[in-house]
């Protein structure tokens, strides 16, 4: 019973570490998954030089990326498969007597190809629509459900900031993105229409580019860089006046947060491991005192200091290993419980199990050493006399 209480600290500590690591790693994994849902071979070109990897566009950015640039990228970079020039707007959308505040994204006709995002009902707009800047749009499922709860949105008219648009399609559901935003809360329209009718600025916010294949991403990035530097007449010693971000950059930016989260959570959990170790040291000290006579007996029949040290060290190790194993099992069970009830993704990796195991061993040895040493240094005569 006493052993169980001693081990409780380690059990809880290890279980907590496992659970925290599982949550953190689950978060990282789901972030990566959602980044991948952006489209696999995706690059984003932004106007202006940016210092950090972000998917945001700096407000009031330099006017350096034009529609002609976008077109040139499409035609003159062989490694580029599709492009979609992009611009943003936001605002109130009215359909009948329902309204909804949402984002309107101006995109190119190949946008859905790049995003690997099919239409569920209706159709997407064409390059003809882009050329003519027709007032057509495609709704994300969240917008569709909120504006047309009972009817089919296709062929209906909505007013975006009082500009009438005809709905020609509804997208399939994509769910939340890496930043926790609802990707289905969006309206897609030709970028030309958005720039001319809705947006405050006349130039592009970004160009979305997909490479021909995963292996061509680096080449595409290089080709776009060379092209734009030439078009913008940038001297060799001058920096780019645009920024290209690929999926890896976006992924590492997003996962940087989850990694910090994981480390933080696990560190906090480790504190309880430390407490568990102190508990072991405490009990071992008591045990050594209680068994002073026994130690004296062993010494009298020939146990050396090192034999006694090893004996008590092993006892501490057994306590910590048993606690650690139980904690691992509990942590795994706890993680699946969390993912079932809180719906957070959790992943148990071999790494986290090995780490926890290693921690248990280290704690057993570290916190068991002092009591074991105390035992080994006892004077046999005094020990034998101890009542």
């Amino acid at each position: 019973m006493r052993s169980f209480l001693t081990m409780l600290g380690i059990i809880i500590g290890v279980a907590a570490v496992i659970a925290m690591l599982a949550i953190g790693q689950g978060a990282e994994y789901s972030v990566k998954q959602q980044i991948a849902s952006l489209g696999t071979n995706v690059l984003m070109v932004f106007p202006g030089a940016q210092q950090q990897a972000g998917v945001r566009v700096a407000a009031g950015s330099a006017v350096t990326l034009t529609e002609d640039d976008a077109e040139a990228i499409a035609t003159e970079c062989p490694a580029v498969q599709f492009i979609s020039p992009g611009s943003f707007a936001g605002g109130q959308v009215i359909a009948g007597n329902l309204n909804w505040n949402t984002h309107i994204q101006g995109v190119g006709p190949d946008y859905l190809e790049i995003r690997e995002w099919p239409v569920e009902y209706g159709e997407f707009f064409t390059s003809q629509d882009v050329k003519s800047a027709t007032k057509v749009c495609v709704l994300g499922t969240t917008v569709a459900t909120n504006l047309f709860p009972e009817s089919d949105p296709v062929d209906q008219t909505i007013r975006i900031r009082n500009v009438p648009f005809k709905v020609i399609g509804v997208l399939t559901s994509k769910g939340q993105n890496a930043m926790g935003q609802d990707q289905d809360d969006v309206i897609l329209a030709p970028y030309t229409t958005v720039i001319r009718r809705l947006a405050h600025w006349q130039n592009l916010a970004y160009v979305l580019v997909s490479a021909v294949s995963l292996q061509d991403i680096a080449t595409a990035q290089q080709q776009i860089t060379d092209l734009l530097r030439m078009r913008h007449k940038i001297q060799p010693y001058e920096p780019d006046d645009f920024t290209i971000r690929n999926q890896t950059d976006i992924a590492s930016a997003a996962t940087a947060t989850t990694q910090i989260l994981t480390i933080l959570l696990a560190s906090i959990a480790s504190v309880s491991l430390l407490v568990g170790g102190i508990g072991i040291m405490n009990i071992m000290l008591v045990s050594v005192t209680e068994r002073t006579r026994e130690i004296g007996i062993r010494m009298s029949i020939g146990a050396r200091a090192r034999d006694i040290l090893t004996q008590f060290l092993i006892e501490a190790l057994v306590l910590s290993l048993l606690g650690g194993s139980t904690g691992i099992v509990l942590g795994v069970i706890g993680s699946s419980a969390i993912s079932n009830f809180a719906k957070w993704p959790t992943i148990i990796t071999a790494f986290s199990i090995i780490l926890s195991f290693g921690f248990s061993i280290a704690i057993g040895i570290f916190f068991g050493f002092y009591p074991a040493r105390k035992a080994a240094l006892l004077n046999p005569i005094d020990a034998l006399r101890y009542e």
């Binding site: 007996i297 009298s300 029949i301 020939g302 146990a303 200091a305 046999p380 034998l384």
Partner: protein, 263 residues
Amino acid sequence: MIERQAMSSPSRDGELIRIDHITKVYQLGEVEVHALRGVSVHVSKGEFVAIMGASGSGKSTFMNILGCLDKPTKGTYDLEGIDVGSLSRDELAAIRNKKIGFVFQGFNLLSRTSAIENVELPMFYSTVSNKLRKSKAIEALKKVGLGDRIDHYPNQLSGGQQQRVAIARALVNDPSIILADEPTGNLDSRTSVEVMGIFQELNENGITVILVTHEPDIAQFAKRHVVFRDGKIRADKINTNPKIATEAIKDMPTIDDEGEEAA
């Protein structure tokens, strides 16, 4: 009883223990305690010695030094030709393991281990193989008459039986000496005589026995008496007519379950 001063034997053959002018001083707070003030004694192989004296006479300190649990402050202690004073802690432990077998007044068995495991314990510290360990332990237990109780735990054994287990443990590594510190102190009179009988039998088979006691009755079973007083040896004489335990037991009444003495 013939008084004879113990003298150093002319030849070293058969001499097991040679103690020359040892003193032991230790600090008790600010006070220096002179436990032994120049003790010399020689013991040969096969002797049966009783060390006697009142408490505070130094006999316990002497036993501790004899048993290599402690080192003298001055003087030499040769055990089978080895100078014990020059040994390290680990080497002393090895001697306690191989050459000396301890028997204590309080039995000092490990309470959560069985008899046979208790007896195996010294072999655990001297790297005897597992198979050999078990058979040697059983053999030792048989020698003390406990062959049928090897799996019993100490709380299932009487005082006399526990002491027998302790003796078996002391024997198991084939030591040169058995050192017993008041071995009958916790036993009733009949069991005490039984245990002395075991010591005598072991002694007859060649093992040197040195025991500490303050009871003259028990000392009568030994062949030589060494008496301590105030840190020195006051007397060292041969016991010309030692009691034989196997005969003495016949005169002792058995105590039956009701606590009444049988005729």
